[in-house]
């Protein structure tokens, strides 16, 4: 039984890790930390976990956590994870960091997040479909929710070299903004509404650029995020503009489907769907559903993907990474359907 620690368990990501671990036959949460909730029971805070989890929040040191756990998830805000990760690693624990602190090269991180990094380490970028080196790794940086959805949607076609530019128009559920109430998450502002923000400047651009450039140096990536009236889920519409040289020369629907099936043949959580995916079909699950259509003009392919932002976009992908790091089957404890309807 893998012993798991969760550092920073007051938010949605921590609660979701506990929910998913409760479904995992080979791993067990043994420790969850939160300074402000110390002593409270998990079930009084994450009320859906009442009776299922008997843990209480604690406030131990990194060394204590590392001693009690085989692997630790750091689910604290960016800028705080760096205060935990090196000590945890040095004390011998494996670590999956769910913050942004270790997803980008040092300089890119510092520029994107506008802060000095106090404790940089190299991490494996934890998107197993694009990074097989997750297997057996000791330290993994879990990707952002938008970059996961965006990168997976187009990786096969970008890898095939067809793309001049991809315009990602992303629609997220509001849980991505966290557990704390805000003007945006105020029900009268969010219900029946669409909210666009950081139209051209969202920080997740850096991760998307990083992943797409690896697959096809020089490809342009644009990214505009929106929030729609949904708690969970990211629906990504990727408008892939074809390089001039390939206009009218790209494969037909069946050909593109082959490219996807081949690219993702060892990726059990990718489901290619015959029409268009839907948030409802992935809600609560670790699947990433993908569909597409080729514009009759031959110069644009529209790819749409759906994930649950808290699962494949965060805690589920973290468990998937854990499985691979610990030598367990990739789908262990994660092979269940979404909750739809």
């Amino acid at each position: 039984m893998i012993k798991v620690g969760i550092v920073g368990g007051s938010g949605y990501t921590g609660g979701e890790l506990l929910r998913l671990l409760s479904l995992h036959p080979g791993a067990e949460a043994v420790c969850i930390t939160s300074r402000k909730l110390e002593g409270k029971s998990v079930g009084d805070v994450h009320t859906h976990l009442r009776a299922v989890s008997s843990l209480n929040f604690e406030s131990p040191s990194p060394a204590e956590v590392a001693e009690r756990c085989d692997i630790v998830f750091t689910a604290v805000p960016h800028g705080t994870a760096m205060d935990w990760v090196p000590e945890l690693l040095d004390a011998g624990a494996k670590v999956v960091d769910l913050s942004a602190d270790y997803r980008l090269p040092l300089e890119v991180f510092e520029k994107t997040y506008g802060m000095k990094h106090r404790a940089f380490r190299e991490a494996v970028f934890g998107m197993p479909e694009l990074h097989p080196e997750v297997r057996g790794a000791d330290f993994v940086a879990n990707p952002g929710c938008y970059p996961t959805a965006a990168s997976l949607s187009v990786a096969p076609l970008v890898g095939a070299g067809f793309a001049e530019r991809v315009v990602f128009d992303s629609k997220s559920g509001i849980s991505g903004a966290g557990i704390a109430p805000s003007q945006t998450s105020h029900y009268p502002n969010m219900a029946e509404n669409v909210i666009a923000y950081k139209l051209t400047t969202h920080r997740h651009r850096a991760e998307i650029n990083q992943e797409l450039s690896r697959l096809s140096p020089g490809v342009k990536a644009n990214f505009t995020p929106h929030v729609v009236p949904a708690v969970r889920g990211i629906f990504t519409t990727a408008h892939l503009l074809v390089k001039d040289e390939f206009v009218g020369e790209i494969p037909d629907k069946a050909g593109i489907e082959r490219i996807y099936r081949d690219f993702y043949k060892d990726s059990p959580f990718i489901r290619l769907v015959p029409t268009v995916p839907s948030l409802a079909a992935v809600r609560g699950s670790n699947f990433c559903d993908i569909g597409f259509e080729v514009d009759g003009s031959g110069d644009r392919i529209v790819i749409v993907s759906a994930i649950d932002n808290l699962v494949k976009g965060a805690s589920g992908q973290a468990i998937q990474n854990m499985n691979l790091m610990m030598g367990t089957a990739e789908t262990e404890g994660l092979w269940f359907p979404g909750g739809g309807p």
Copy 2:
């Protein structure tokens, strides 16, 4: 043209007063106050009013407001209205107070709200369907949203003396909780949920008791409020339990319908509907829709009513009161349908 002032314009009630006044041919908002928004334009705060309202928030004294206005709406929290109302009245303005400060007799107010009243005055209770004395009044206390919906739903039958007890099970949109974000109004907590609160102790009980007791001394009234995933609206389910002496002796459907039509024959905003009312049909309007069904047991009548909590439950009823206080037609500027769908 009636000159209108709004004291406390930063919240939903203030914004709604401006929206409704923009549709009123005989009245005009000339002043809106907010200490914290002083100098800001209305359209930057209540963005739906951009271009329609050219007012800026101001921070004048009560006397200044009274001088510039024929009638003033005080839309500040309970406990604050009492700092404005006496001065406004003494300076010659008519006043509709939308807070709870003047809805109850002095002792009842102090007990219910747990505070000393610093400036009590007698007010007319501003529910025109039950209080014709609103016409020509100088000072009106606008009722709470729940009491409006509850009282109107059963007044004819309680007045007829059939009721031993009424159990009000009320379902409100979340805008009733105001413009400030909270745990309850956080979209992930409110969407797809039902939240019950103050199961037996909500302060609006006092107003409901007051109105029902006037119609039938000794009738018991119970009240349990809920919030449902809706911005606007209160749907009230009134379970009227028949006095023993009337069990099996109450009128049939047609007879009860006659009682309602007779009771509300001079009340243009009450619509008796053939089946059940719906929040969608009243949203944005000043109507109160009412339907009912008699239990085959003969000992219970279920009456359901729908209002928009921000209109008939607050700002619309305030305008209706203004019309009557100023001698204008009751429906002036309010005779428009809800926005449904």
Copy 3:
């Protein structure tokens, strides 16, 4: 491994049975029937099950189903289950019927549903918390969603003899109305709305009466259902009116809590919560959360309960019944938290 058949798998109940069985370590769906979907894959119909379920819809005879399965869930409409159940039982399969055909005594069924019963059998009423005889039974009638939520909320207090009358005001998600689109389920009609229906005449009254009368003969039960903007869940507000002899004599909060804890001490899926329950906390799970408050008047107790109508109100309770009928642990495959947020 228990071999499970599902008769009538095109609707929400059938899909939910498959979802829950995919999480069950000791049972496996081996057959799912639907005449109109014959030959289609489950994943093309219930898209969240894509890749997880490899079944196709079939159209076998009852005898064929019984031969391949240890236990069969009949998830067809009332009036149709009676065409399946006797043959399945006679062929040696255990049966959980999710329709209304076997929940009531013959005469009550025929009167309530306005039809002749063509093939009556005696069944155990499948609410394990109130019917321990489910253990080892061969044929169980799975209760309706509203009656499950209503009965569980008040059984301890009704059983204690305090109740003169209970007014159940129930708020359901729209999935209870099924998978077929209708005027009620049309998004513009349902969103931001509350819909009351069959204010005094819903058929589920009969089941509620049956259960409450067993606990306290002569108790009056009233029931008014509503639909609120939610896919899943039933939130029940039970207004329990105390018998005259007990007014002012009922136990205090701690005392009532003891009554509940004692009554449900062997019922793992009942969670007594310190404040009020929430649909979000039970969504997707088999839990029934219960909270309450005693009216200061001493003559009313308000109890509120939350279940997922598709799980504890249908398919989850069916699996719970299966576990008990087959001699498995009651919580096997069902001991997971809801999906909240």
Copy 4:
């Protein structure tokens, strides 16, 4: 008083025309037709109009309608309007057609809609901001909802010649799909979901191309529609890709704002907002709110617009056209704010 007829009043567009006309001081609905609803009162069908409208549905001939009305709105499906429009015009009525039958040149219509046109006439394209020739016209084709939102969002910049291509990613409320229930509009399918459809082939492309090509011949326009959990509204995200020759040479934020203000200086319903627009701020109103941001790369401008699809996207724009056709002030009866929150 302008006498108005509505042909085809059973749907959302017809109901909305009645709602808006009830707010118009200079026009009055005198006739509403529906074959299937003949004899029913408007208030029994569009329940929000109960008491406000006293019309009944009728089934008169085109000539009868034309005789009783100064102007007629045809709100019937495409393919049916062509059976009404020529007779209405020939009988002397002015006509605003809300269907697609007269928005496109004959050949483009027949190709796009896959049908022969049985009665073609030339119409003015009824988007007053781009077509001043609406003023005084006798026959106007009211634009589609998506094309209205899309064209208005980028017209000034496309007109300025900066655009190589515009990728429109549009998010609509479900009321655009009409009043009849469907799988898509089924609440469990729509709530908390995002649905993309016709990723590259929606018919409204033709109108968008028509309008953008008039402003800048050769500009490429892509269009992908989505439905989000909202009843009303279209939120359009326009990714404008700058021509190579202008990369890095486009005006700054203030410059682009000047271009918009100049272009729309005579368009009262266009509101340029300082940040991003919101469906909530335009809901129920005829406004089109627009905001934008320039990508730091200098090769993309993201423009976002919000309209109410049933108002500015249909019935409100129809009234705006009526005002101009009849010589009334453009804003008459339409100068009111949206309902937000």
